[in-house]
């Protein structure tokens, strides 16, 4: 009996071996090598464009089914048909970056990602099939791919920074450290399938300054750090984070505070100003809002970073919520859960704007300066609603969309009046 199993055994092993090799070669060639050299094949952009088409198709299907849900017993035109268009219209008026993710219950699943509060009632077979395929692709293919990349990225970061740490201090070390950091962050970006557009790169932060950005998710750090080199600021953690932190600080001076030191504002301020005063050190990356916000309360920009008295480089980060929910409800989900959510979304699409540097003016105190910077960032990010198009030619598609809606609605009216005349 056992002798029959042996040939199958080795066959299976061979197949597994081959598929793993192929898998890793593809990974290496298409993802890791470009990340090392900072080039891009444009695969992610292509992916993003096809996702947008997919979303539009599914939204059309969804609107059809909502209109069709009126039922056949009613007369063909109902004066209440207007409610549907009316509500959609007012929703778009109220719509902002956050509300967009909470549109009417029927439309919640239109980007084929139903997360918490799963109230998915059978709307149409085609939509269900699409959604099912989406789940398969996201969890069966994308998630393992991304997890592999994430491990690779983090692992390389730890190992390589430790190696760089062995070098004597000097230009060579700084150069290598920059390269290593950039490379690993780029791999992490690909691990999240983040498609980022950087605007106004001429305003990128320089040494001896502080970079200030609005904080919307934990991955903001990775997004900014894959386009430039920064000195990070944070609390010393234990566990895996601690290992990463200790390795990173060997390669270049990041600022990690012990838990006890964080309470001492003067100590914090002193360490920051010392770092900034040294021209050879990288710009500090600070998120003045502190921890992740869930966008329901007005955030105070903590004035500490603005008291130091150096040039501030504001950066605005804006996420497109259609592709994946980048917000972290830290009271509900832990970090690992959040990362899993991120990695099983379609993609993370965001835009980064580098704003011109600002300094504290005469007679302005830290709070006023902080508010000025915050207003500049908010203004830039707020304009993103209308600047989203980028190169996507959304305008053209939209006209077609209006006619499509009219066509669909007409089908409903005419279709049912045909039934009536037949009876």
């Amino acid at each position: 009996m056992e002798s029959y199993l042996f040939p199958f055994d080795s066959l299976i092993c061979m197949l597994l071996g081959i598929s793993f090799t192929v898998w890793f070669t593809l990974l290496l060639v298409f993802i890791i090598v470009p990340a090392i050299f900072g080039v891009s094949f444009g695969i992610r952009r292509l992916y993003m464009k096809s996702l947008i088409k997919l979303f539009e198709v599914s939204e059309l299907m969804l609107s059809v089914s909502v209109i069709l849900q009126r039922g056949s017993a009613e007369p063909e035109f109902d004066m209440s048909d207007i409610f549907y268009f009316c509500r959609r219209g007012v929703e778009s008026i109220v719509d902002d970056e956050v509300t967009k993710r909470f549109t009417a219950e029927e439309l919640e699943s239109w980007n084929l990602l139903t997360r918490s509060n799963y109230n998915f009632h059978h709307i149409s077979t085609r939509l269900t099939a699409l959604w099912g395929m989406g789940v398969l692709i996201r969890y069966g293919f994308l998630l393992p791919l991304r997890v592999t990349l994430a491990f690779t990225g983090v692992g390389l970061l730890v190992v390589l920074t430790s190696i760089v740490g062995l070098f004597p201090n000097g230009r060579m070390k700084n150069y290598l450290s920059d390269k290593v950091h950039l490379m690993c962050y780029r791999i992490c970006i690909r691990a999240l399938t983040a498609i980022i557009t950087y605007h106004d790169s001429e305003n990128k932060p320089k040494n001896g300054g502080i970079c200030v950005a609005n904080h919307t998710s934990p991955i903001d750090v990775i997004i900014l750090a894959s386009d430039g080199c920064y000195a990070m600021v944070g609390q010393v953690h234990g566990g895996l984070m601690g290992v990463i932190q200790r390795a990173m600080v060997k390669a270049c001076p990041h600022i990690w505070f012990e838990r006890s030191e964080v309470k001492d504002r003067h100590l914090v301020a002193k360490r920051l100003s010392d770092h900034v005063a040294d021209e050879s050190k990288l710009p500090i990356l600070i998120f003045p809002e502190g921890t992740c916000i869930n966008n329901t309360s007005v955030m105070m920009f903590k004035k500490g970073s603005f008291e130091i008295g150096c040039t501030v480089y504001p950066v605005a980060i804006k996420y497109d919520p259609r592709f994946g929910d980048a917000f972290w409800n830290s009271s509900k989900f832990g970090m690992v859960n959040y990362l899993l959510h991120m990695m099983s979304s379609w993609a993370i699409v965001c835009s980064v704007w580098y704003l011109p540097p600002m300094s504290r003016m005469e007679g302005e105190d830290a709070v006023q300066f902080a508010n000025r910077v915050k207003a500049a960032i908010a203004r830039k990010g707020g304009l993103a609603d209308l600047l989203w198009d980028g190169g996507l030619k959304r305008g053209k598609v939209k006209e077609v969309f209006k006619e499509e809606q009219q066509k669909l609605y007409s089908k409903v009216l005419v279709g049912s009046s045909e039934d009536r005349s037949r009876s």
Partner: protein, 195 residues
């Protein structure tokens, strides 16, 4: 979302709007940010162009009618109070409507007021009657070029016939309400406002 935006809205204003519309404090500040971001001219009021710049609204077949509903008779600008007053019609009806408006008997998001909002979308000349012509025009907006004039005409005729009870070939507000008495207006004309 900038601090400049929220500093222009005073606490007294927020309280008044709260009483009039029933929105919560945080909803009002959030909607003020939205108002501010739509106000490109920065003059504290929105014009029709400001609304038309919203992409999703521009592709809505009834976009122009909805925009019109925000502007009172003969005016071209709507301030934040007016903006909130119109949006208040879409506030969901809560089971325990505790905040009874002191100045007028009925809250802005009552069933009657929601129906009145929809009625005004049809009533193009604001004469409190929906004539056959007006109904045709609105229907035409909703179907585009896909249905012939005759077919559309017969749909309009049928609708008026079924709704009109006093024989004046127009639909008044009470006839409109009667036709829609079985429809769940509260749910269909409400949108979710984040807290």
């Amino acid at each position: 979302m900038g601090s400049r935006a929220s500093s222009l809205l005073r606490e007294e204003d927020i309280e008044e709007i709260k009483k009039e519309t029933g929105f919560s404090h945080s909803q009002i500040t959030r909607l003020y940010s939205r108002f501010h971001s739509l106000d490109k001219g920065e003059n504290g009021a929105l014009s029709r162009e400001d609304f038309q710049r919203i992409p999703e609204l521009a592709i809505n077949p009834l976009g122009d009618r909805i925009i019109n509903a925000f502007f009172p008779e003969g005016e071209d600008q709507v301030n934040f109070r007016g903006f909130m007053r119109t949006l208040a019609h879409f506030r969901p009806v809560e089971d325990n409507e505790k905040n009874k408006d002191l100045t007028s008997g009925e809250p802005l998001n009552s069933r009657t007021n929601k129906l009145h909002f929809a009625f005004q979308l049809y009533d193009l000349d604001r004469d409190d009657k929906i004539s056959r012509d007006e109904l045709l025009q609105v229907l035409r907006m909703m179907v585009g070029v896909n249905i012939s004039d005759e077919q559309l005409g017969s749909i309009a005729d049928r609708t008026i016939q079924e709704a009109d009870t006093n024989g004046d070939m127009c639909i008044s507000f009470s006839e409109f309400t009667k036709v829609l008495e079985k429809v769940d207006v509260e749910q269909k004309m409400s949108i979710r406002f984040l807290h």
